[in-house]
Symmetry: C2
């Protein structure tokens, strides 16, 4: 009688909206909606408020394009970090991954995506001009490219390289190779091949 | 420097809230939050509004406890359905599954859960008294129990059976057995054993 129409227009609308989330189908959306229905009203208000506020009030760091609450982000305003080194990444998620390693102490530059003609994203849609301006402003010794090795990532890296190659800085890229703890047997051929090509002096 | 604290309190709060959803971890929550950040403001407002409204405005059918927008639910108010037959289910999701079969034309009674001492859910937390009252009000010929075969489900079925056994109605349960299209080889022993015990006259 109500084939996926549910018994309530409100429920239908909530399911519809939850199903717009990436990776959430209509079945999961219904599960989430019924979960929310069981929560106290205050919790649900709070829940909705959290990302409405996020969407309305969040700003981007004017220097590195990181999501932040106001003004310069915590990384750019941290005077203890190496301000001569910029790591170029696609998104905030990459920043979080790198921060979690505890191995990086420089600044970041978040492009907000990678060049992808298929998705209609060109160089002008990314914060590449801003990166060049940061380098031109001086004080930068090294730009570390940490983009993916997909075709789009490589294209973006190359595009940035071309823009920066004549500047008085070092341009580096993160090391690629067989992951620590990975078996050679299960490593893809491209990675293994490149890791042999790019072999390094053995360190004891 | 910000180990899972992110660069923005707003983002942190949104991730925190999204991670309260069942089956959503902090990594997925971050992905969802960043997805919402990319959406137009209106969409995000609309998104939040959908389930805030759901939570605030939804009502439950006074007869069968189904989620509905106001008054009697579409099933209870449908005069074409068999009003002498009530199918007892745990939740709205079961109703949707049964409706999708197109094989059922009676009414429903949604318990809102099953008896589960572990979760502190007793008979009084469920709509069992209301079911007995519906039966007592007359006009009901059959109550079809469609609860799960878990220990909690069986306990609940038995509890309802005890409450209704003296009433002038038939109490039935949905058939259990080897699923259509299932291989015997891969059917669990309990199901297969019971399906032999409960064998039925062969129909041509």
């Amino acid at each position: 009688m109500f084939k996926q129409n549910y018994s309530s227009k409100l429920l239908e609308e909530a399911v519809e909206q939850l199903a717009t989330l990436p990776g959430v189908g209509r079945k999961s959306a219904l599960r989430l909606a019924l979960h929310l229905l069981k929560q106290p009203v205050d919790n649900v208000d709070h829940f909705a408020d959290a990302f409405v506020k996020l969407r309305h009030e969040v700003v981007y760091c004017p220097v590195c394009n990181m999501i932040t609450d106001d003004g310069e982000c915590p990384v750019c305003s941290d005077r203890k970090r190496d301000r001569s080194l910029i790591c170029v990444v696609e998104s905030l998620r990459d920043v979080l991954s790198i921060e979690n390693t505890g191995q990086y102490n420089g600044l970041y530059h978040i492009l907000g995506g990678i060049i992808s003609p298929m998705d209609g994203i060109g160089p002008n849609d990314l914060k590449i001009k801003e990166l060049v301006e940061r380098v031109d402003a001086g004080g930068i010794n090294e730009v570390l490219l940490a983009l993916s090795t997909s075709m789009e990532g490589e294209t973006t890296s190359f595009f940035i390289y071309k823009k920066l190659m004549d500047k008085p800085i070092t341009i580096t890229a993160i090391a690629r190779g067989v992951g620590f703890g990975d078996d050679l047997e299960y490593t893809d051929e491209l990675t293994l091949g490149r890791s042999i090509e790019n072999r390094q002096p053995f360190k004891v």
